[in-house]
Amino acid sequence: MIKLIGVLIIVIGFIMKFDTIAVVLVAGVITGLVGGLGFVEILTVIGEAFIKTRYMSLFLLTLPVIGILERSGLRERAADLIRNMKSVTTGKVLTTYHVIRELAAAFSLRLGGHVQFIRPLVNPMAYGAAEKNFTEVDEETEDIIKGYSAGSENLGNFFGQNVFVAAGGVLLIVGTLGELGVEVTPFAVSKASIPIAIIALVYSAIQNYLLDRRIAKKLNSKKSGKPAAEVK
């Protein structure tokens, strides 16, 4: 049981919000010590594993070109495209963003983010669509739209990223399995990530469609011709 101390250190360290890198290193060293390894032996295991997994950090090669593209307005152009789309409902705005976010993640583009896209663009557009279609959007509905907006970013990001052959997650799977004696290629893992990426998108589209119905049930449509005074 004492060997599980490393797991305990990680759980406590993460909950206490200590520095992640330091927590992982401490957990590793202590686990090695209670597992009967010598200090030099531990350093050897860490060093060898790190050298062997250098491929996990090959994304460094993409940073200069992505940095230049950001300087040249990559995000601004993507924002323009989203702004110009013809979506009429809250759910359609969110589903469209999910599609774009997931495709971008699958190509390893960091075109997304709560700070860069959700707050300034997606949530205002999703809310704006509700405002356009209904006489009065109550506070709770506004809050729900906010939750779904942030959710579309997370879902698109999480389930799209592993489709890219050199995504951090893909290489983590290859590296961890390799250390445990199971050989698998990054390409096979990225291909195996495609079905769940599509399923997540389908679920999300259905969820957004249901959100539209829920909003339509709760709020009064402008098209129904009811005067705003009667709405309350």
């Binding site: 993460f14 330091a22 992982v24 290193l25 957990a27 590793g28 090695g32 209670v34 597992g35 390894l37 531990i42 295991v45 860490i46 060093g47 060898e48 594993a49 790190f50 050298i51 250098r54 491929y55 950090s57 460094l60 200069p64 070109v65 940095g67 230049i68 593209l69 950001e70 300087r71 040249s72 307005g73 495209l81 190509f107 390893s108 959700i118 809050d143 906010k146 939750g147 942030a150 959710g151 997370n154 999480f158 389930f159 052959v165 997650g169 983590l172 799977i173 590296g175 961890t176 445990l180 290629t185 990054p186 390409f187 893992v189 990225s190 195996a192 990530s193 079905p195 769940i196 679920y203």
Partner: protein, 305 residues
Amino acid sequence: MKSLLLEIFYVLAGLVSIITAVYALKDDKHPHGKETALFWFLFGAIFIVGKYIPAPIVGVMLLLMGVLTAIKRVTFGSLANAADDVRQKSADRMKNKIFIPALTIGVVAFFVAQVFKSLGGLVGLGVGALGATIIAMIMTKEKPKQFGYDGSRLLLQVGSASILPQLLAALGSLFAAAGVGEVISSGIAGVLSEGNILGGVIAYCVGMAVFTMIMGNAFAAFAVITAGIGMPFVYAMGANPAIAGALALTAGYCGTLMTPMAANFNIVPAALLETKNKYRVIISQVPIALLLLATHIVLMYVWAF
């Protein structure tokens, strides 16, 4: 051929890190310029010469990097992007052409992996990144030096977290060397009868989700749960490792969607959007996360075996 090409790419990746160290050092407004520079220099050096020096020395270098992040001396500094209006003007001028270099990386990586199977996706990534850099150089007419600057800016922004996947893999091999997996699996074995594939798949997927919820980090959970549950109850039963591995990690992401521990994804955005309920993002994600988790179990059971 493959290993030579990869070694060249490792050297180039190391150079990106060392250039970052230089920019951190030259940054007058950086509060911890020297320490931050040392961190990225060590990282770059491991990439370039790590293979030729004794492994324990690499271990010591990593511990030193850990000390630098523990005392919070690895930070961003003041490298700046172009001003908002400059970027918008450039976006208006380049239009959708700006996506070409960006898409080149992924398309070339996929193409190389598919056509030159012996080279694999990693060489593809390297070739794609170099190709994209050349295309961007022609299209934007920015000087090479600017590429170094902006690459450093991004690496400093991502920060020390960029070495985390590699460290977690190292942790995984330490766990394996110390026999942690056996302890967890013997605990699980008390509940789960051997040969019960469905039980193993459920334990693996749910274990990933629950552990991710506790730790707030699916990557860390993957190392632990794969050694403890995945190995004896899923992979040893003959699962296709690519399918089981891919699904196990995204099963962990289902946990990420449901936990306040993943503050960056769930709590910070709620604050950013000024929601009335600070758990609003989690509340809206729980139904789809549970549905996805159930789908993972079915998919792994049906497709990986």
